[in-house]
């Protein structure tokens, strides 16, 4: 299955992936008006320190602990993609306790949010990958 992989050697730390993610999931029409003045909550996050930077998002694990731990049956695997049904999430955050990557997070409304490889927004390449100017984030089979 194709997944998002990050090569930290090429990450510029520009945070564009965060904006592209937030925009892709917003349903808005153009990025500038949608994100202007908004405190974005992207599903991919850049970590920086001591001369390194890289983006972290859901690994779509084959054996996902978040799904196994979910107490409400709100997380499920659909064709390999780990998806969240926000209407079933009761904000307990057990998935946050389970995820080794810290890639599941509370959203503004309290339900958890996570990368769903843009399957719910559009088909094809995830927005973070499509917009990465240095090819540091790729969508491929490994």
């Amino acid at each position: 299955m194709k997944r998002v992989y990050v090569n930290e050697k090429w990450c510029l730390g520009c945070h564009l992936c965060e904006y592209n993610c937030a925009f892709s999931n917003s349903g808005g029409r153009d990025m500038a008006t949608t994100l202007m003045g908004v405190n974005i909550r992207p599903n991919i996050r850049v970590e920086e320190g001591e001369g390194v930077c890289y983006a972290v998002s859901c690994r779509h694990c084959e054996d996902p602990l978040c799904v196994k731990g979910c107490i409400g049956g709100a997380l499920s695997i659909e064709d390999g993609v780990i998806e969240i049904d926000k209407s079933k999430c009761i904000h307990c955050y057990t998935c946050i306790v389970m995820c080794p990557y810290g890639a599941v997070m509370p959203s503004e409304d309290g339900a958890v949010q996570k990368c769903e490889l843009c399957v719910k927004t559009k088909k094809g390449t995830p927005a973070c990958v499509a917009g990465c100017p240095n090819g540091a984030i790729v969508f491929e089979e490994r």
């Binding site: 930290e8 970590e47 320190g49 080794p100």
Partner: protein, 409 residues
């Protein structure tokens, strides 16, 4: 192959999913006492809070049993097992098995209390039916007395807080949530619950119930209309125990979820396995553990070997928007941080993280959980950095390439 599963909670569902990863054809029969489609037990308090409904509480979609080729017998109670003939005796007849899983969970433990039998309106808080019955007994004036300030008692309290007039909670322990919080952390949460109008009587217990009053050991009295007992749970072990299988507080299982009875497995709240943090044999009555034990049992029942040896305490819970996460064992040296919206204790010993308690800002706590589970040597990472802020930075480039780049070193 004929699989029989007793239970319909996460351990049972995990087993079905585990079996079907390996064996798409074998016949699976599920027997469960509760007459409901599989639902999320912890959500019963959220149902009363109005944050979910019976439809959304379903742990798996309506088509789950059919899609997985499971023959379901709901509202049926398993009474005993015959390990020689390999049959389960139920109140609706006998069911033969080749492999049997006991995923029967637990039941409320009610300590002997004087005058208890004469209390008219008394409830437990374990099942969907319990929750519905309790909510029907409540009016905006009702005074509720809850015995037990553990996870279930306090989740019940939160759930009914908008449906009744007053809530008093009594517990023998000196603090609330004593199974997951230390004294300081418990004080933080207790303060918040008091602000929501709850009253606590700690280090205390009921001496006698009489005429709508509970007289406590301390001499205090509490007037109440409805009583909820949430002191603790007892594992449902009798099916295996009566068949001669090894049991202590729970049904003894190895890392493959096998009991000492041939072809009989156990998982979830009724099973007692090894806690990977402490090495102790104990019941870990939590949802993630139930699912993973069940899944492991299912795979093994279907002939795919593979151990589940990563069982540990791991819990996330919140009350009125105050979130807390806990994991592992609270042993060793302590990293302590307290600030605006954060209470954090990390416990470490012998070059490994043993456990944590975090209240408030719980983001990315799973990174700590993984360190406990994987026994990550602390000498190999930037420990100071990770104590302050859980991220992947402290793990270094090489480990990160495995985590994020799918690179196998």
């Amino acid at each position: 192959m004929k699989y029989v599963i007793i239970g319909n909670g996460p351990a049972a569902i995990g087993a079905i999913e585990g079996i079907r990863k390996k064996d798409k054809k074998g016949a699976i029969t599920l027997i469960s006492k509760e007459p409901h489609h599989t639902y999320s037990r912890p959500l019963i308090s959220y149902l009363l809070l109005g944050k979910t409904d019976e439809e959304r509480m379903k742990y798996r979609p309506d088509g789950f049993y059919k899609d997985n080729g499971v023959d379901v017998m709901l509202g049926v109670t398993a009474e005993s097992i015959d390990p020689v003939r390999q049959t389960v005796k139920t109140d609706k007849g006998k069911v033969p098995y080749d492999r049997l899983l006991i995923a029967a969970g637990s039941r409320p433990f009610i300590p002997p209390m004087k005058g208890f039998d004469a209390v008219e309106k008394k409830y437990s808080f374990m099942t969907l039916d319990d929750a519905k019955a309790l909510s029907e007994a409540l009016t905006p004036e009702t005074r509720v007395l809850i015995i037990g300030a553990g996870l279930i008692g306090l989740k019940c309290a939160e759930g009914i807080s908008g449906l009744c007039g007053h809530i008093a909670v009594v517990d023998l322990a000196d603090r609330i949530l004593s199974s997951i919080l230390d004294r300081e952390a418990a004080a933080v949460v207790e303060k918040s619950l008091r602000e929501h109008g709850m009253e606590f009587y700690l280090s205390d217990s009921v001496e006698e119930f009489k005429g709508g009053r509970a007289r406590l050991k301390s001499g205090k009295t509490i007037e109440f209309d409805v009583l909820v007992t949430a002191v603790g749970v007892k594992a449902n072990i009798s099916l295996v125990k009566d068949a001669g299988g090894a049991c202590e507080r729970g049904i003894i299982v190895n890392d493959h979820m096998e009991t000492t009875v041939t072809n009989v497995y156990a998982a979830g709240d009724c099973a007692q396995g090894t806690d990977c943090v402490t090495g102790q044999s104990r019941i870990l009555a939590l949802m993630p553990n139930a699912y993973m034990q069940g899944e492991c049992a299912g795979r093994n029942m279907a002939g795919e070997p593979g151990a589940f040896d990563r069982a540990m305490a791991q819990n996330a819970i919140g009350f009125f928007g105050l979130h807390m996460v806990t994991a592992g064992a609270y042993e060793g040296e302590v990293y302590f941080e307290r600030g605006e919206g954060l209470y954090k204790k990390l416990f470490y010993r012998d070059d490994r993280l043993m456990g944590y308690i975090i209240i408030g800002d719980i983001r990315r706590a799973g990174i700590y959980t993984a360190m406990i589970r994987d026994r990550t040597p602390l000498s190999g990472i930037d420990f100071e950095l990770i104590c302050k802020d859980p991220s992947l930075l402290p793990f270094g480039k090489k480990r990160r390439a495995e985590m994020l780049g799918g690179v196998k070193n």
